[in-house]
Amino acid sequence: MKKGSQPTFEETAGRYIENAQLRWNIGHATRTIRDKRQLVVQELDDWEELREAGRQIKQKVMNSLDRYLLQLEKSVIKAGGVVHWATDAEDANRIITKLIKEKKETDVVKVKSITTDEIRLNRALENEGIHALETDLAELIVQLAGDEPSHILVPAIHKNRAEIRELFKDKLNLKELSDEPADLAEAARLYLRKNFLKANVGISGGNFAIAETGTVAVVESEGNGRMCTTLPEALITVLGIEKIVPEWKDLEVFMQLLPRSSTAERMNPYNTFWTGITEGDGPQEFHLVLLDNGRTNVLADETGRQTLHCIRCSACLNVCPVYERTGGHAYHSVYPGPIGAILTPQLRGLDDKSAASLPYASSLCGACYEVCPVKINIPEVLLHLRNRVVLHRKKEGGFRQKTDPVHLAMKFLARAFAKKSRYERLQKMGRTAQWFYEKDGAISNLPGELSKWTSIRDVKPVPDKTFREWWRER
């Protein structure tokens, strides 16, 4: 994708906000999961201690990521696996395509993995004549519809069951199908089952990789992940380099934090762990592709670094008042919501106008930070990135930057606030200038950028006397 060829957040958010069906689907789904999460989190007396432990483990990993990565590589090789290093998406896709082609396969099965979505693996494979079948129910829905995921955990959150029924009837050639969730799941199950048994190569992401032992973990709800990681002869796992934990015992923390934060469950129904290969049991070939794709740039930023602590639970999406109204597609990234607003610009860089608009897609309400299981201070990173965006634009310079109304207003006001006499003159100017706009005690029609305010809100006129004038006369 050409840099900056996607729209900014503010350019398309309105389009999604207006879609009543989408609003209802996402509002209903996020409210439900948000309330359930609250209940299972309240059960634990030590939730805050767990969050702090999760944060500290991740911080420890980031501080010595180079060392842990080498330790992981060594452990995986020792257990009979093969480790590949990919600097970017292209690199990773090339490695995976080559591995599948060597096995002369044209069809592979996939576990839901946002990291493979990030590198657009399915499209890259399709271009090489390889079909990757998504086996997670929601990912399958998105794939059959030719759509994009709109949520980290619930990729088809924007679709309701009536829409899914129509899709399945059409794409799976079913004459009769109800919109009951059980019937829809059964239809998918029958379709997927024969593909699981046929496939010789499985592709997965990973929730965690343990440096100490080389063990990789996938947690899921449907059992399709278990099938993909155990049935095929060969397994290829794509793992972002930040997914490492040092030791087995660290999982004690994350296996409590993750399910409660993501699906609002005490434990995931399926927790699959594998360490290299086991003779006569499961895949006899295991490839681990360690992906950078911008992550080391994030690591280099002292404030932004905490973004890499993310365990992809999506609790921040479910509490975000912005996400709840726009849905995931408005972010134009596989990582939507608050975490996407800080991760995407750091991964893609600020030359990408679409990504650079994301730190502004927040009212800074702070609900995301409150629920984050590893205590990523998302508002802090948002503000840090806004500053980086401003500095980046200043460096770019040019006519457009110099005449940007927001930039001019900020410069003007910073100057005015720096001196009492200028500040007081500005107060008087406001009072004089408003006579033109004030009508019956309200201002309802301001010009330029401010018209976005007065399109739905009145402005209270500046009163005759400021507080300081009253104080002086007192």
């Binding site: 502004y360 609900a367 900020m410 006001l413 606030f417 720096a418 976005k452 305010w453 209270k460 300081r468």
Partner: protein, 247 residues
């Protein structure tokens, strides 16, 4: 006690009545209020929009004005949140160790008005009388940046004649977010629309909070819709007695 008022540029210019109410309540409680005339703006709007380097002079200015105060009180939860959370970062950004030390020493003395009454002065009943149906909007900065707790509720519950009604979806943002309301006008409008709906559901005559910035946002829409609901800062409610507003 000698209390220095940080009025904030916003209240100074647009909501002087809130400032007058704060002065009146503190004086009624037997304290002396000071108003350093050189104060201007905390720089929150700049900071939230990404302009950080520009407002280091405002941090210095704030320290100049208030570091000798016994206590600093401000009727704006978001400006106090800005000072507590981000002034240390800005002081660090300035590279001046002196400014960092000055800010570190000053911050514990800076209080949001309702928290100051309840937690510092230990006052929950200020003798107010306000015979109206009122709903309280807990602003995001009050809730999550300042951890305001139940200070406003304690004060409001002690107001005679008041009928307090819970606001549905109280923990949700009103969609203001400073320049967010302009930059992401569509999203802000959608959030505000839901907030207004909830306020109307309560049947309240008055929506109050510890911050005029959210109230300007909410009140702007209530006024445009001719809803008959008005927005009033908490200080003004607390300053109304059986003899009327005490200014």
């Amino acid at each position: 006690m000698n209390i220095s008022l940080f009025i904030t540029c916003f209240n100074d210019t647009l909501y002087p009545e809130t400032g007058k109410a704060v002065v009146s309540i503190l004086e009624r409680l037997g304290h002396t209020v000071h108003f350093p005339m050189e104060q201007t703006c905390c720089g929150q709007m700049h900071y939230n929009t990404g302009y950080h380097e520009e407002i280091i002079p405002l941090v210095e200015r704030f320290a100049d004005q208030f570091e000798n105060a016994e206590a600093v009180v401000s009727p704006s939860a978001s400006c106090v949140g800005m000072i507590h959370e981000f002034y240390p970062k800005l002081a660090a950004l300035s590279g001046s160790k002196v400014l960092q030390d000055r800010i570190d020493a000053l911050i514990p003395k800076v209080h949001e008005f309702t928290m100051f009454l309840v937690n510092e002065l230990k006052v929950e009943d200020v003798g107010a009388y306000y015979p109206h149906r009122v709903t309280y909007h807990s602003t995001c900065h009050s809730l999550r940046s300042l951890k305001i707790g139940d200070a406003p509720h304690r004060l409001l519950r002690n107001v005679k004649g008041i009928e307090l009604v819970d606001l549905p979806g109280a923990l949700e943002c009103c969609g203001f977010g400073g320049t967010f309301a302009l930059k992401n006008a569509d999203t802000s409008a959608a959030m505000l629309g839901d907030k207004i709906r909830h306020i109307k559901e309560t049947g309240a005559e008055v929506c109050t909070s510890a911050d005029n910035s959210c109230l300007m946002h909410i009140g702007g829409a209530l006024n445009r819709q001719r809803s008959g609901v008005k927005t009033v800062h908490m200080a003004e409610i607390l300053n109304t007695t059986e003899e009327g507003a005490q200014v």
